[in-house]
């Protein structure tokens, strides 16, 4: 039990945090370079070997670690030192509830590929995410700098506003899947339904070519199919929660220099920087789990894969192969979502402060309430 949990935690940290986060900084540089017709990072080299600029993340870490750690005059020392940690720790521990694979049976032992399979997993992520707001607000307050203070105030207003909307946008998904547990949510999406099944149900069309088409045109039962509007609104809200462009008004280089982390240097700035990039992975993993089917392969359920492979290779090998396929599918979805976020970040200019606020309170909030209402009506109608 303890060994299993330790191995899972180490695996999540090795793959998600230590493996993916530094690469994302490289992806951001290279993708922006490609989008702007530049070459991008390629100067960090070890005796002539540059590996497409992949040494830049390592150079970044060495630079941040060896830089002087400055605490400005008149700053609240304790809070100034503590707030990068308050910002970074929630980003690190939110991975605990995200499933990176399903539940597998090896003989009589069960393998559940999620760090902590708690019943209110999504609420845990929201609770942890609201702690991260304290880090930014305190960083702005404790720096004894008016620009930082403005950035902290903007961050508090933005993050609290978008937290409300973010919670409301996923209520429709809870209503569809009837659960808050992320592993159950991913399991519920490991199936597909007939897109034109209603023709058979209500119009009695079956047999012949039409019946074959009805039977074989299937759509994976993903959250994005049930809740397309919820997906768009959730992605907007959670990207605003991460404070990256186009929602980076708390940083706003052209207005308030760098906002809440203006007075930070060295690895304390690095922690803010790192938590932002880890949050990108969390956003990608969370949207993949809730809306894009998590680890499930579209059109191929777990039982179908195991049934297909086990006559040739045996059940144990089939289950092992299934784990690999599911984990690869999950990582593919995560990487696609990271790519989408980078695309949005480098396509749109920064919104004005009032635009961000009115987007939240005047557009997203009424739309999400309307989404909940329509979902409820449809669910009641389907149940009869």
């Amino acid at each position: 039990m303890l060994i299993e949990a330790t191995v899972k935690v180490l695996f999540i940290f090795a793959v998600m945090v230590m493996g993916l986060a530094p690469i994302i900084t490289w992806i951001e540089r290279k993708q922006s370079a490609v989008m702007q017709d530049r070459i991008g990072a390629n100067r960090a080299d070890l005796s002539g070997i540059t590996v497409l600029g992949l040494l830049h993340p390592a150079a970044d870490v060495i630079k941040l670690m060896t830089k002087e750690d400055v605490v400005p005059d008149g700053a609240n020392r304790v809070m100034h030192m503590l707030s990068p940690l308050i910002a970074a720790v929630p980003a690190l521990i939110a991975f605990a509830v995200i499933p990176f694979g399903g539940v597998y049976q090896f003989g009589d032992t069960t393998l559940n590929l999620v760090g902590a399979d708690i019943d209110w997993g999504l609420l845990y992520i929201f609770a942890i995410g609201s702690i991260a707001a304290y880090g930014t607000v305190l960083a702005g307050w404790s720096s004894n700098n008016n620009w930082s203070m403005l950035g902290g105030l903007r961050a508090s207003a933005q993050m609290i506003s978008y937290e409300v909307t973010m919670g409301l946008t996923v209520v429709g998904v809870f209503m569809v899947f009837q659960t808050l547990r992320l592993s159950d949510m991913a399991l519920a999406q490991d199936t597909s339904f007939r897109l034109f099944g209603f023709l058979e149900l209500y119009f009695g069309l079956d047999g012949g070519v039409i019946g074959w088409l009805i039977e074989h045109i299937r759509v994976p039962a993903w959250g994005i199919v049930y809740q397309p509007l919820g997906f768009l609104m959730f992605l907007t809200a959670i990207m605003a929660e991460n404070k990256r462009p186009p929602f980076d008004i708390p940083e706003g280089e052209s207005e308030i220099i760098a906002g809440y982390h203006l007075e930070y240097s060295g690895m304390r700035f690095g922690l803010f920087f790192m938590s932002e990039f880890i949050e990108i992975i969390i956003i990608a993993a969370l949207t993949a789990t809730i809306f894009l089917g998590g680890w499930s392969v579209p059109w191929w359920t777990t039982a179908e894969i195991i049934d297909l492979v086990s006559p040739v290779m045996g059940v144990g090998f089939a289950t092992g192969l299934c784990i690999l396929i599911h984990f690869a599918t999950f990582m593919l979805k995560v990487i696609v979502m990271i790519w989408v976020q980078m695309l949005i970040r480098w396509s749109l200019p920064r919104f004005r402060y009032d635009q961000v606020m009115s987007l939240c309170w005047k557009i997203l909030l009424p739309l999400s309430v309307a989404n909940i209402f329509v979902t409820g009506v449809v669910l009641l109608w389907l149940k009869g």
Partner: protein, 60 residues
């Protein structure tokens, strides 16, 4: 004494101390507010020690 008992005393005393810190920090409002946050977090930890991360009736 089990691990849970020790954790209960750790978080219980943390909750009491930080609650006192919230009341007594009249000069520094932000420190007072942060003490409130620490109180809430330690209360959350005590709640977890009661195994309330599981639905009632679900397998432990």
């Amino acid at each position: 004494m089990t691990v849970e008992t020790i954790l209960f005393y750790v978080f219980g005393s943390l909750a009491v101390v930080s609650a006192l810190g919230m009341v007594l920090n009249i000069r520094n409002t932000v420190a007072s507010a942060m003490s409130l946050v620490v109180t809430m977090v330690s209360l959350g930890a005590i709640y977890l020690l009661l195994r309330r991360h599981r639905r009632k009736g679900a397998a432990p």
